[in-house]
């Protein structure tokens, strides 16, 4: 057969892909467990996380991500409606700097995803987290590249239906346990997230990451005013503490005025 033929044969045998013999444990370079006989399998690396990062930040790591989430909440308070809602699509780059003793400022390049029209837009944003007691809310400035899609007609239609309607909206647990939302409740789910974004923006720090967990209850109230008025019980999730935070939120909405919060109050979580 010759040497070359032998090589070919060896290669072809290898190509079958599955060896018939057991792996040799003596061949330690092939065995993935070879470092693992000690009980504590650790190497010490320079401590991180104690001192919050400054300068260029890794956009995948939590300091940039938490700041970017605050921008999402800000965009929803500013531009959100029953037919417009933002999610955080990606963080492209981030830097942070201390501002004397007053706090820390993050500068971010992000992509925001407008969920209902399914469009992504790039934004640049500044988030300032103030220092000191009592804890203050962050301050956000953001500018996004595209004009927002016009949702006026849909908003007007929704507004009219519930302004004139004979029955007031009342709903619980949106989404339900299986993640289901009735189609005619969708705009109120969006509206609830927008309203809750005021809370999430207000409460955010460098040590929180808020998302909406669920609308426990939303009830439309009678009102003499132009705007629709809602009383609600919102459940927010903080990824850092893993807690579900319960908030009572009284807010109004109209196409002209957007969402305005009248009262917000955290309530204790039930003990069970």
């Amino acid at each position: 057969m010759g040497f070359r033929g032998f090589i070919v044969l060896v290669v072809l045998m290898g190509m079958r892909g599955s060896p018939t013999g057991a792996v040799s444990l003596k061949d330690e370079s092939a065995h993935p467990n070879f470092v693992t006989r000690e009980q504590k399998d650790l190497t010490v690396e320079e401590g991180r996380g104690d001192v919050m990062a400054t300068g260029e930040l890794n956009p995948s790591h939590f300091p940039a991500r938490r700041a970017a989430k605050v921008v999402q909440h800000y965009l929803n308070t500013r531009y959100g409606s029953p037919y417009r809602l933002f999610g955080l699509e990606d963080v492209h780059s981030a830097t942070a700097e201390d501002v004397a003793d007053t706090g820390r400022r993050y500068h971010l390049q992000i992509s925001a995803h407008e969920i209902i029209s399914n469009r992504t837009q790039k934004c640049s944003a500044d988030v300032f987290f103030p220092r000191g007691e009592p804890t203050q809310s962050p301050e956000v400035k953001a500018s996004c590249e595209e004009l927002l899609q016009n949702t006026t007609a849909q908003e007007e239609a929704l507004y009219q239906r519930y302004k004139e309607g004979h029955s007031l909206l009342s709903a619980q647990y949106i989404p339900d346990s299986q993640g289901h939302i009735e189609p005619d409740m969708m705009p109120f789910w969006h509206l609830s997230i927008v309203a809750s974004s005021f809370i999430m923006l207000h409460e955010s720090t460098e040590n929180t990451l808020y998302n909406m967990a669920q609308v426990a209850q939303i009830t439309q109230l009678e009102t003499e005013r132009e705007e629709l008025k809602f009383d609600s019980h919102m459940l927010l999730h903080d990824m850092v503490s893993q807690e579900i935070l319960h908030w009572k939120l009284l807010f109004t909405w109209s196409p002209a005025e957007g969402v305005k919060v009248q009262q917000m109050q955290q309530i204790p979580k039930p003990n069970h």
């Binding site: 290669v11 693992t36 401590g47």
Partner: protein, 330 residues
């Protein structure tokens, strides 16, 4: 696909054994606080050699319903594939798959009770004074226990009265601990966040194979993206989501080389109440990611030389089936 489709879980597990008697057995390996039996499905083909193993657990946190759904999907997928997919068949011959569909059974069942319990996370053991319930099982393992968590019983990250105080954590510790030399992969499935996390949760410690874990993780994330274009962020826990006392960290400390936490969909839009129409696509993409890691671990163990590593690459490429993995990308 719906969340209730394969409930009750123990009946579904028994059905799997009935449908695939040569390949599946149920192993009972512990008890929950409320005295329910904790079981896994052991899946593998008969072999005379000593086999290696893959560990997967779902539902350590009660409210993360997509996770048990994924374990069930994973089981059905490998059982439906192994007869036609030679790669899967080979892996089943060389390795056993230990899959626990729901680890925190008490918590999971509690989260099904009514609207007010849906967002429960912990187990159901009573706290020290009996007026608060539940320990976070994923803070209860003996791995840098007690750092960066809460000692307050009513906290959702309460780590327990001491390391491995909880029967559910004890069950895993005993079962995996007594087989640690044979286990190649320890995958623990959670939601939400779209993340693949590598050890360790404590910022001062790095796994010796951190670079490899990241490389394999990034390739798995690419495999995930290839399915439905969902981005999963890969990173070490302290950089992305710090925690201590986790089952993943404990497993890595035992010497199990490839340990990952999967955080499935979404990124906060529906959070824990992921809609049922997303169950299938989420499972499909996660399967692709998990299979990449498992295949890597298998191939690294069961090849002695570069030739067979190349052969594995070809056989994975050629293998029909769900994987659609791209090993060359990072």
């Amino acid at each position: 696909y719906d969340y209730y489709k394969y409930h009750p879980m123990d009946e579904w597990m028994a059905q799997m054994v009935m449908d695939y008697p040569d390949v599946v057995t149920i192993v009972d390996y512990g008890q929950t606080y409320e005295k329910r039996t904790i079981s896994l499905l052991k899946i593998g083909l008969e072999s005379e050699k000593r086999k290696k193993a893959i560990w997967m657990d779902c539902g350590i946190h009660a409210r993360e319903w997509i996770a048990p759904a994924f374990c069930q999907y994973f089981v059905k997928q490998i059982l439906q594939s192994y007869k036609t997919d030679t790669k899967i068949e080979t892996m089943m011959r060389n390795m056993d798959f230990y899959v626990t569909p729901v680890l925190n059974i008490d918590g999971y069942m509690y989260s099904w009770k009514d609207n007010m319990t849906r967002l429960w996370r912990k187990n159901r053991s009573p706290g020290p004074s009996g007026d608060c319930y539940g320990t976070d099982l994923n803070r209860n393992f003996d791995a840098n226990w007690g750092i960066g968590i809460s000692f307050n019983c009513s906290s959702n990250i309460y780590c327990g009265s001491q390391p491995v105080s909880e029967p559910e954590a004890q069950a895993v510790t005993y079962f995996v601990g007594s087989r640690k030399d044979d286990i190649l992969c320890f995958l623990t499935i959670h939601s939400y966040g779209q993340l693949l996390l590598v050890p360790y949760g404590h910022p001062n410690f790095t796994a010796p194979n951190y670079n490899e874990l990241m490389e394999v993780g990034l390739a798995a994330a690419t495999a995930i993206w290839n399915v439905h274009k969902k981005n999963y962020t890969v990173g070490a826990s302290p950089d992305v989501l710090p925690n201590c006392g986790s089952s993943r960290d404990w497993a890595r400390m035992q010497g199990i080389p490839y340990t990952y936490t999967f955080e499935l969909r979404d990124k906060g839009e529906f959070a824990f109440e992921l809609p049922e129409d997303q169950i299938q696509p989420t499972c499909e993409e996660a399967y692709s990611g998990a299979l990449h890691i498992i295949t890597y671990a298998h191939d690294k163990t069961f090849s002695g030389a570069a030739v067979t590593a190349a052969a594995s690459f070809w056989s994975v490429l050629l293998a029909a089936g769900v994987a659609r993995v791209n090993l060359m990308s990072s």
